[in-house]
Structure formats: C-alpha cells, structure tokens
Symmetry: C2
Subunit: 148 residues, 2 copies
DNA sequence: CGATTACGGTTACAAATGATACGATATCGG
DNA sequence: CCGATATCGTATCATTTGTAACCGTAATCG
C-alpha cells in the first residue's frame, strides 16, 4: 500500500510553495508601491482590459466579489482608477486607469516581470512552461470546463 | 518588450490553482472528518513522526506557531492527540496520536491519497513528478538553503 | 552562579477574508 | 406591462489568519 508522506503530498506542497511565492510578492508590492495583492491584480486586469466591470474581474481572477469591491474603492480613493457608471447597466461601473494609474502601471509591470524572473528564472528551459501548463490542467480538472 | 499578461503570470497562476486545490481539500476534510486543514496537517505529521513538538511542526510545514498551537489545542480537546510535557525541555509538549487519533488517521490517510489521485491522477505520466520537483526547486530559490 | 538573551507555547489584539443580507437595477415569464 | 427572479455592487457580520505582548523555561556569557 502506498503510504502517505506529507512532504510528497501534492496539495500540501502546492499550498506551501504558493504561500512562499505570494509572501515574497506581497511584501515587494507593499514596500514598493503600497499595493496589496488584490489591488495590484485589479490594476493589472484593468490595464489589459480597459472598461471591465468588477464582476468580470471576479470571473477572470477567481477573487471574491467583496475583495474586488474593496480593492476598487481603495484604488479609487487613491485616484488610480476611475469608476464610470456603465451606460448599458446602471448597476455596474466601468473601471479604467487614470493618468496616475497608468503611470503607476508603467512602473509596476516591469517590476512584476522582474520579480517573476527572479523567482522562476532559475528553472530549466522548458520547466517554467511545463509548470504553467500543468497548473492549467489542474484548473480544468477542478474547475470543470472553465479556466479561460 | 515582453508584456505582462496576468493569465500567464506565474505568481498569479500559482496562487489561483493553489486556492482551487486547497478549497476542494478543505471542504472534503471538513465534511468527512470535521478537520480544518491545519488540524489535518498536524494529524499527518504526528502520525509520521510520533513525539514531535509544535516548534518542529512549524519548521517542517511552514505553518505559523499560533496556528499550530490552536490546532493542537483543538485536537487535544477532541481526544485525538495527547500532549505529554517533554522530559528534556519543560516548555515543550511531545505530541502523539491517541487510539482515537490513530483510528481517525487510518480513515483519513487513504482518503487523502484518493483525493490526491482524483485531482492529480489526470496528469500525464511524468507530469506530476516533474511538477513536484519544480515546486521543490522554487522552494529552494525562495527559502534559500532550507527546504528539507 | 546571576544576568541577559533566546526559545516554546499561549494569549490578546488587529488585520484580512469570506458568508450573508441588502438596495438598486435588469431580465424573464406570464 | 407586472410580478418573480437573478445580478451588480456594497455593507454588515462572523470567522479565519497573522502580529505583538506575555509567561515560563532553557541556554549563554560574564
């Protein structure tokens, strides 16, 4: 019989490493830009897709809608994003980066890529690519047909 | 210039998938055994290594010491683990599974392996192995020389 | 030894996170 | 149209999670 060793138990290992990475990222963003991880994610999504709504961000990132709401309010207060009432749906806001937000993004994005390179650059040639592909497969197994 | 896409950004992807897996595991354990993830981890570690202390569990699993303390107290109250004052260090407890704890573990461990198989069994032949190896490499990059 | 410092574990407190309920609008069925 | 139901975002509340202070004990150093 196959015995259980926590060190080799994939769900544990995955959580462990994810916490390590998230912690490193979180402290870096907090220190450099005063952004929490949810806030940084909002900025990134809005930069990629101007005019999205909070609900769309939830669907895309898996974040809770209240987490997104709080991050949006915080970013709005800091003048980094603008929240325009949607014309087609008066319940929703269309989110966009302000000039300040764009300026911040211009700083944050390269830093993000650099952090990624610092952490994952040490992996072998195809290793990072395979790793990402495996993560996506796991998403599909768990999330059903979703996963982008 | 290499552009940033959140969907391909490894720190995000890793966190996303980890949350998915942890969520699935957490609900299963809660429903089947009334165990939180920290509690389940304690049971697993103690089963593997009878007589460990809480500090050792922290070092091994990366959990916060107060999380471990709470889980230990809860498991003690449920009669699943025994906490014997250590002979060599009167501050520490040596943790061991009671008969009830052993019985629970005999149920939990196979279920854990089954869950792991359900989630990761769909991966290709060497894929899970490579995935685990990559996780360990990331741990080493971030955690310095540690990582077991 | 005696004092200082470090460590194991708990407690008390603060921050973050998620579940629930709500107001407002939108959509659907009759 | 109008009522029932679903959705967007927010606010409230409970739970979880981490941080800082604490009590004992151990180890270190003069």
């Amino acid at each position: 019989m196959e015995t259980l060793r926590l060190d080799d138990f994939l769900p544990f290992r995955l959580s462990y490493t994810s916490n390590l990475v998230s912690g490193a990222i979180a402290t870096a963003y907090q220190r450099l830009f005063g952004l929490s991880i949810p806030e940084w994610r909002l900025v990134a999504v809005i930069a990629e897709c101007d005019g999205t709504t909070q609900a769309a961000i939830c669907a895309r990132t898996g974040m809770d809608k209240v987490t997104v709401s709080r991050a949006a309010i915080a970013l709005g207060k800091r003048g980094l994003i603008a929240r325009q009432p949607s014309a087609s749906d008066r319940r929703a806001f269309e989110l966009g980066l302000t000039d300040a937000g764009l300026a911040l993004y211009a700083e944050v994005a390269p830093k993000a890529l650099e952090l990624e390179r610092q952490i994952f650059g040490g992996l072998g040639a195809g290793e990072a690519t395979r790793f990402l592909a495996t993560l996506r497969r796991i998403d599909m197994i768990l999330g059903g047909p979703a996963a982008d």
